[in-house]
């Protein structure tokens, strides 16, 4: 699954550590989410979406439908 997490985080000038703290996850988890190595659970995806004020599908994409 691809996502715009890094782009959204950098647009706000947040470090991975700062985002991790707000989401109550580790920095390693934020890094794995941004690099697409880990797909979040639905509750975490909702938390991320709420934090950035975007719908889930505006942040996460199915890469089989939208290959990069």
């Amino acid at each position: 699954m691809n996502n715009r997490l890094r782009e959204l985080r950098e647009a706000r000038g947040w470090s991975q550590g700062a985002l991790a703290e707000q989401l109550a996850v580790s920095r390693q988890t934020v890094n794995a989410l941004e690099t697409g190595k880990y797909d979040p659970s639905l509750p975490l995806a909702f938390r991320i979406a709420r934090m950035f004020g975007e719908p889930i599908e505006g942040i996460f994409f199915d890469d089989t439908l939208h290959p990069t």
Binding site: A24, V25, S26, R27, Q28, T29, N31, A32, L33, K37, Y38, P40, S41, L44
Partner: protein
Amino acid sequence: MAPSEPLPTCRRKALWFGGFGVATILLAGAAHALHLPISDWVLGLLTGFGVGGLGAAAVLWWLPDASDAVPKRLSSRYRREMLLPMTGYVLAVFAFKPLLHRTDSLPLRVLVSLLPALFVLGVMRAFVRYVRDSDEMQRRIELEAGAFAGLLVSAGFLAAGFLQSADLIAIPAKVAMLWVFPMLCFTYGFTKVVIARRYL
């Protein structure tokens, strides 16, 4: 020459564990070579600590930095909750044999024999609380590592059981049973390194 970067905390810890492991193995080797009056049990214990220290060093060296993987509050609580049962376990391992010689009462002998295992329950409690309060990806890493370690260790013991049935090896049942849990912990350390590094 550019100044070299300081080692991450986990790698500094790895060096300490590695040094401890090498020192205890050398000590056991020297005691054996010089025929010092040390029982086989203590020699085995020293070797076990040595191998454990080297294993912990290897795991700490290759694992992603713990400060990146776990919030400080959680790792502090884990260390705090682990300290007492772990200390109790080490003391009980040293004390249970001498204590057994001091009593003939069957219930007391059972209690004393189970003392190290009771402390392991405290270690397990600390670990379970740590896993349950980790974030979802870390929990997945821990659970996958535990599952693979369980499979590998049980397959290893199964293979050893067949070899023993064929009279190709002869491991006393006492030793085999005592080593299940340490082997599981040891293997879990290595499976965790492999799995955690997939998410880097």
